[in-house]
């Protein structure tokens, strides 16, 4: 069953084309990674999927009655805001239908604690968010996005500014959610594309979709405009098949 259908979407800023004729569909429960260079339109595509930008041409359908769970980059919110971890997670349960003088109910609080436990941040529930490390902050944002139990989860560069250990943990968490949720992970870093994913889309204004989750060297070169040397540290992150013997070995 398709959960997301994007057909012939184009977006431009003035004369600059950010997205051109982008079409793809995502199966329910799939784990898709979108990769591409900076300025390639990844953020624009997310904004279209989230309804923040209306495309000039084309259409978008998300077959879900719940809002998309969104894990933004760190620069999109106020990191120094005086608030505790638990309160940030609770914000994920807000909606336009909240009554006047709304207060979080016990069910919301239980759900928040359940999610913080799932992500291993329950001990931090009373901590100010300004005191968190990058990896901890990322888990808080994932917990917040999961509050409404969304069908679709979109993560914008979730592993860009965190340490390797947190990175592995976050991929582990996403792997647990896979199947139950449709996950879209945006990355500019080819090396972080893990072996968990079902499909990869390469985006550089236009989009190339790889259903089997494998990308070829020629398509990467096409997307990035020049040959890219891919170094896969550790087996789970391998992008290409093993190089033939006698070649350069970077692992």
């Amino acid at each position: 069953m398709k959960i997301i259908e994007v057909s012939h979407v184009s977006v431009s800023y003035g004369r600059v084309k950010a997205l051109e004729d982008v079409s793809f569909t995502i199966e329910k429960g799939a784990f898709l990674s979108i990769i591409g260079p900076n300025g390639g339109g990844k953020t624009t595509l997310i904004k279209v999927l989230l309804g923040l930008i209306k495309p000039r041409e084309g259409s978008l359908k998300i077959h879900s009655d719940k809002p998309v769970g969104y894990v933004p980059q760190f620069n999109s919110f106020e990191r120094r805001f005086p608030i505790t971890v638990c309160r940030v997670v609770l914000m994920g349960s807000l909606s336009g239908k909240n009554p006047l003088f709304h207060r979080y109910g016990q069910a919301d609080k239980d759900r928040a604690h359940e999610l913080m436990a799932l992500l291993g941040i329950e001990a931090l529930h009373d901590r100010q968010i300004s005191q968190l490390s990058g990896g901890q902050m990322q888990k808080v944002l994932i917990a917040r996005a999961l509050m409404t139990d969304p069908d679709v989860l979109i993560l914008d560069e979730p592993t860009s500014s965190i340490d390797a250990e947190s990175r592995t943990e976050i991929y582990g968490i996403l792997n647990k959610l896979k199947g139950e949720k449709t996950i879209i992970l945006i990355s500019h870093d080819l090396g972080s594309v893990s072996s968990y994913i079902d499909a990869i889309a390469c985006l550089n204004v236009s989009l190339e979709f790889h259903e089997d989750g494998k990308i070829t060297e020629s398509s990467v070169n096409h997307i990035y405009g020049c040959p890219v040397d891919l170094i896969a540290h550790g087996v789970p992150h391998r992008v290409f098949p093993e190089h033939p013997l006698g070649g350069h070995s970077h692992d």
Binding site: F77, M91, N98, L100, F101
Partner: protein
């Protein structure tokens, strides 16, 4: 001084004015410091000069003119900002200087002696009338009502507006409501404390409170408390040394910020 408060109506009004101004600047200040809308608020405040000048020229209450100009400026900046790539900072600066230029132009056209514009820049808390206080009470009640009735949503909006929008909340409306509340708060405060002191009261108490506040509500409450403390100390100094109250309140606030900063560094080092 206690005797003076008991026997002079103007001293009582000044006291109530300080209390109301602290409540209002505590709330609005915490919001604009978090949103980093200081430039915008300052621009809105200064654009009121055009309205004040218009009032003098046409012979109606200048504060109504101020209300008109600040509200229009507050609505124009975000609207033009979304439709052009000029940037809200540039638009704000443009409206700021445009409002003040109009004010000066209108005053030049006003027959007779030019009015004293200084009182709108620095205000005079000792000349507050009952009517001023009533306007303050009205605006403070409105701001408190709007904030408290959607408190959780306001907090989410201030923390992460984009996420709040995705949750299905109409954040564009919240933008406009907030701009409007800032505009009317500034107008209500102009007569009391003046444009310059408004900026000081909006920024200094929240900046100090951020050093230790652990929640947004505590940030607001602490800003209110500090605003009141500085205003009262300023009034006392102004009363005993016969110096302008606006200046003494600002000087005390800045001094307190400096002390708080040093104290924070010392505590952090230990």
């Amino acid at each position: 001084m206690i005797n003076a408060i008991a026997s002079y109506q103007f001293m009582q009004n000044a006291l109530w004015g300080a209390v109301l101004a602290s409540i209002l600047t505590g709330i609005i200040g915490a919001i604009i410091v978090e949103k980093k809308w200081l430039m915008l608020s300052s621009g809105i405040a200064h654009s009121s000069f055009g309205g004040i000048g218009l009032g003098y020229m046409l012979g109606f209450e200048p504060i109504y003119g101020a209300f008109l100009f600040t509200t229009v400026a507050a609505m124009l900046v975000p609207t033009i900002d979304r439709k052009s790539d000029t940037g809200s900072e540039n638009l704000t600066a443009m409206l700021w200087s445009f409002g003040m230029a109009l004010g000066i132009l209108f005053i030049a056209f006003t027959p007779g002696y030019p009015p004293d514009m200084n009182s709108y820049l620095f205000g005079n808390i000792l000349t507050i009338s009952k009517a001023n206080l009533n306007v303050m009470i009205l605006v403070t009640t409105l701001v408190l009502g709007v904030l408290l009735s959607f408190y959780n949503i306001w907090k989410a909006y201030l923390f992460d507006g984009e996420f709040t929008f995705i949750m299905g909340i109409k954040t564009l409306w919240m933008d406009y409501v907030l701009y409007f509340l800032i505009a009317i708060s500034i107008v209500a405060l102009i007569k009391l404390v003046g444009i310059i002191l408004i900026m000081a009261l909006l920024t200094i108490p929240p900046s100090i409170s951020r050093f230790y506040a652990r929640s947004f509500s505590r940030l607001i409450l602490s800003s209110m408390g500090l605003g009141l403390l500085f205003s009262l100390m300023g009034l006392v100094v102004s009363y005993y040394y016969s110096i302008p109250s606006g200046a003494s309140i600002i000087l005390i606030s800045v001094l307190a910020y400096g002390l708080a900063l040093v104290a924070k560094k010392i505590i952090a080092r230990r």
